[in-house]
């Protein structure tokens, strides 16, 4: 049967992506990759750790969630009346997993044989919730260990300590897994409530990549969803607290067993909430250029800092832009965090005064394009990123065309706007027992 789909072509990558709309309102994307042994599929919902206050139209009352529910739910979907879902994939030779971010929960598998059966297992288990008092209780122990593991992880701690300092109210400041206390408040009823809201197909999407026939993948998906007899779901209304433009704290410190201090400098982006789709992605690419020109390995600053023994090879900077929060993070391990911080902020000032040249701009633009092409070797990269971009109404395939159209002046203007000293905060991990 021929079904309607939209073909999305990318000339630079020489890729063809098939976009189907599956009843009741789910997006399905299939990217054929001839010659690959592996087939990779992800089933993803727009439910992440920051979606902690919501209602469904036409209800008027909001539900408030304890921290860590999306991640907890992710763990619990792997268990149902028939037992452990990992066993079902294992019997079909597949490797399965899942992850939860600030904005989405994603279930995935990869396999080199029996794709159809594995794909059905994926679609089925994500659509079959099973939560009991007993299984919820056991999971509190497992996730408690996951939280403790991250509590000992310097990079994880420096990251969340920084978000807690940058943000006063937005839930991005809370750890994705929650705390031992917050997850103790999770009940089966709460999980069902979240499940019935966020796991309706209209809030979800599927991406499949590998040596596959798009029409067949569509038929499998359409049949599977049709059999579940979904009713319509009212629009999900999320509520986020008003976030002041000021940071909460200028500086935060924590002691851990580490060999050297670890510093992250963050800048809070207050403009992203007014941006959508292509504009958001344009900002992301521009910021990537700004940060690469400022802190990249080919520039003077990086090489001076390395020579002066203030950074190591892991020093770096990156930018995150979601629909209602955004931030820049710069940093790494250093023997002298205060001097490094000074040099970084000084370099930003100099760039704002002296500008950048055409040669730098072109060179970094080339680098971003080449890196983008290289990443398309990885099926996981393609699927995971395509849906992450899709969920903020942007399109991963548009990167080359946006990269082509941006101008040097835009890069400079954004650097001045988005790396403003009054919106920065510093997070430090210091060696325990010293200081």
């Amino acid at each position: 049967m021929a079904e309607l789909f939209k073909l999305i072509e990318n000339k630079i990558l020489q890729e063809k992506l098939y976009h189907f709309r599956v009843d009741p309102g789910m997006d399905l994307y299939v990217l054929p990759r001839p010659g690959y042994r592996k087939k990779y599929a992800i089933f993803s919902t727009r439910f992440g750790s920051t979606d902690n206050k919501f209602r469904i139209e036409p209800e008027q009352d909001f539900t408030d969630l304890p921290d860590g529910v999306a991640h907890f739910l992710e763990h619990k979907l792997f268990e149902d009346e028939r037992g452990n879902v990992f066993d079902r994939f294992a019997a079909l030779g597949a490797s399965a997993n899942a992850y939860t971010s600030f904005n989405q929960t994603t279930y995935l598998f990869s396999c080199t044989e029996r794709f159809t059966e594995n794909f059905k297992v994926l679609l089925d288990f994500v659509q079959e919730p099973y939560f009991t008092e007993q299984t919820v209780q056991k999971e509190q122990g497992i996730i408690g260990q996951e939280i403790k593991m991250y509590d000992d992880h310097p990079h994880w701690r420096v990251f969340f300590n920084l978000l807690e300092s940058l943000y006063q109210a937005h839930p991005v400041r809370n750890d994705i897994a929650g705390t031992v206390e917050s997850i103790s408040r999770i009940t089966p009823e709460l999980l069902y409530l979240c499940y019935n809201t966020f796991y309706h197909p209209s809030n979800m999407a599927v991406f499949v990549v590998g040596d596959l026939n798009p029409q067949q993948v569509y038929s499998l998906t359409a049949e599977n969803l049709a059999a579940k007899n979904y009713g319509p779901l009212g629009a999900i209304v999320r509520s986020f607290p008003a976030e002041p433009s000021e940071v909460l704290k200028r500086r935060v410190e924590q002691q851990l067993v580490v060999s050297e201090p670890l510093i992250f400098i963050g800048y809070k982006d207050i403009a992203v909430e007014h941006l959508k789709g292509r504009e958001l992605m344009r900002r992301e690419i521009l910021m990537e250029l700004v940060l690469d020109i400022l802190f990249g390995t080919s520039e003077k600053l990086y090489n001076d800092l390395y020579r002066d023994d203030l950074i190591d090879e892991n020093f770096g900077a990156d930018y995150t832009a979601e629909s209602n929060y955004g931030y820049v993070m710069i940093g790494g391990e250093t023997k002298d965090p205060d001097r490094l911080c000074e040099r970084i902020m000084g370099a930003i000032e100099i760039m704002n005064k002296e500008g950048i040249n055409e040669e730098q701009f072109e060179r970094h633009r080339r680098k971003i394009l080449g890196g983008y092409i290289r990443r398309f070797n990885s099926l996981e990269f393609i699927a995971n990123n395509f849906l992450a971009y899709r969920f903020r109404e942007t399109d991963l395939f548009e990167l080359p065309s946006i990269l082509q159209e941006i101008k040097l002046e835009e890069v400079l203007a954004l650097a001045a706007e988005n790396l403003a000293p009054q919106r920065h905060a510093v997070s430090l991990i210091l060696p325990a027992g010293e200081n």
């Binding site: 294992a90 030779g93 597949a94 593991m149 067993v257 580490v258 092409i373 070797n377």
Partner: protein
């Protein structure tokens, strides 16, 4: 059919392995220089790639090199030192986008090889020695890297277990050597070591991508025709030892939230052993997958851990079980782990466990064919182990593994050393 290398020897003895395939968007090149792992040479071998990368005659500083790479559409050059069994391998890899996606007349294979050749064969010299500035700088960075082992507690626990377990063996040498070794290295000595190494030690060059075989051979030969010794160094393979007479049980206290348990076993089964595939299946059933005994019993049933797994060091025939747990639970976790091993030895393995593990291992193997770096490391592993298994051979070997063979493997597996990293009493930090 991907996975089939065309291998040939250049006149100077360097081995070229070319894998023609059009499924990737890249050209991937890897150059590997093999050395034995030893306490005398470890720091020299670890330092060399970093010093070479930081400055060569054509690109005398890192900034110049990085600009050159950026102009090649952000080609990615990296250097590393790999510890595999009792082999220490210096690695130089470069990956670029394939010319066909860039819409201009480029020659990224040639450009990439030219850069690697400049870095590897034409170093920056001052009076018959490496640049003093770079040697000093990179020594300092590597010493920091050694100290930084402390930062990831799971890796730290693993390395502590291995170094105690294999103290006195070559395998007990840390990948980056010891801090005090760096004090003895000077720029002239390092250069002498370099000259000897590239002249005498085995070198493998890998190229993976949609390229013409003859062009690859000609280009590689053009850039890597430096003269080398008649006879290559003959490197010893990994030595398999039996367990110590009395199990070693170690503990260390640290200001951490979670305890890390690492159990080190000797399997007496090396890379070329006829039970090699049976060992892969054994470790898979025990702790290689989410369906494995350790994950099911310790995590899913008892809820004691978030991560628990077993891993093999296939060249040295070691197996490590690692878990992150509450310190109060460590005896219970240990008891459940030991029960799984005795169940394995008693042949208490269901058909489902056996079959699922075989499928899982085969899936992992086939998946490696979808990544250029995995294709390279798969073949390189064979070069290090002294035998190049083909994908088909391993798959067939895994399919054939019987319960009898797994029991035979189980009989060989003996606990040697256990290591527990535990939260410091009273929340105080104390160095072990």
């Amino acid at each position: 059919m991907p996975g089939i290398y065309v291998s040939q020897k250049l006149p100077n003895g360097i081995k070229l392995h070319f894998l023609p395939t059009n499924k990737f968007k890249t050209i991937s090149i890897g150059i590997f220089i093999h050395q034995e792992l030893s306490s005398e040479l470890a720091a020299l071998s670890a330092l060399l790639p970093s010093v070479l990368e930081k400055g060569c005659r054509l690109y005398p500083d890192y900034l110049t090199l990085q600009r050159k790479l950026e102009n090649l559409y952000g080609a990615d050059l990296s250097t590393d030192i790999i510890k595999s069994g009792e082999r220490h391998t210096l690695a130089f890899t470069l990956e670029t986008a394939h010319d066909r996606y860039l819409g201009e007349n480029s020659n990224l294979l040639g450009e990439g090889l030219a850069i690697l050749s400049a870095v590897l064969t034409d170093p920056l010299l001052e009076n018959d020695a490496f640049s003093e500035k770079y040697v000093k700088q990179e020594k300092n960075q590597l010493i920091k890297d050694i100290k930084a082992l402390l930062n990831d507690k799971a890796t730290y626990a693993t390395e502590r277990c291995l170094s105690e377990m294999c103290a006195g063996e070559r395998f007990g040498v840390f990948r980056l050597g010891k801090i005090e070794d760096y004090g003895k290295i000077n720029p002239a000595g390092l250069y002498q070591y370099y000259k000897q190494l590239i002249a005498r030690n085995p070198v493998d060059i890998y190229v993976v991508g949609d390229l013409d075989e003859q062009a690859v051979l000609d280009t590689v030969e053009g850039y890597f025709n430096f003269s080398r010794a008649e006879n290559e160094a003959d490197l010893p393979g990994a030595e398999l030892k039996g367990v110590r007479s009395e199990q070693l049980s170690l503990e260390e206290q640290m200001a951490v939230n979670q305890a890390k348990l690492v159990l080190g076993y000797r399997t007496a089964t090396g890379f070329k052993d006829e039970l090699h595939c049976a060992l892969l299946v054994y470790s898979g059933i025990l702790g290689g997958f989410p369906h494995s005994k350790l994950f099911m019993k310790v995590r899913e049933e008892a809820g004691l851990a978030y991560y628990i797994h077993s891993r093999l060091e296939r060249h040295k025939g070691l197996m490590l079980i690692s878990a992150g747990i509450n310190h109060e639970d460590h005896e219970q976790a240990r008891a459940i782990i030991e029960l799984q091993l005795s169940d394995m030895a008693a042949g208490k393995i269901s058909d489902t466990e056996l079959e699922n593990t075989k499928r899982g291992l085969i899936n992992q193997l086939l998946s490696r064919q979808d990544s250029p770096s995995q294709l390279i490391s798969f073949h390189l592993d064979g070069r290090i182990g002294g035998y190049n298994y083909s994908f088909e051979q391993l798959i067939e070997g895994i399919e054939k593994v019987s319960l009898t063979e797994i029991k035979a493997v189980a009989e060989r597996i003996k606990l040697d050393t256990s290591f527990l990293l535990r939260p410091a009493e009273g929340g105080e930090r104390s160095d072990g």
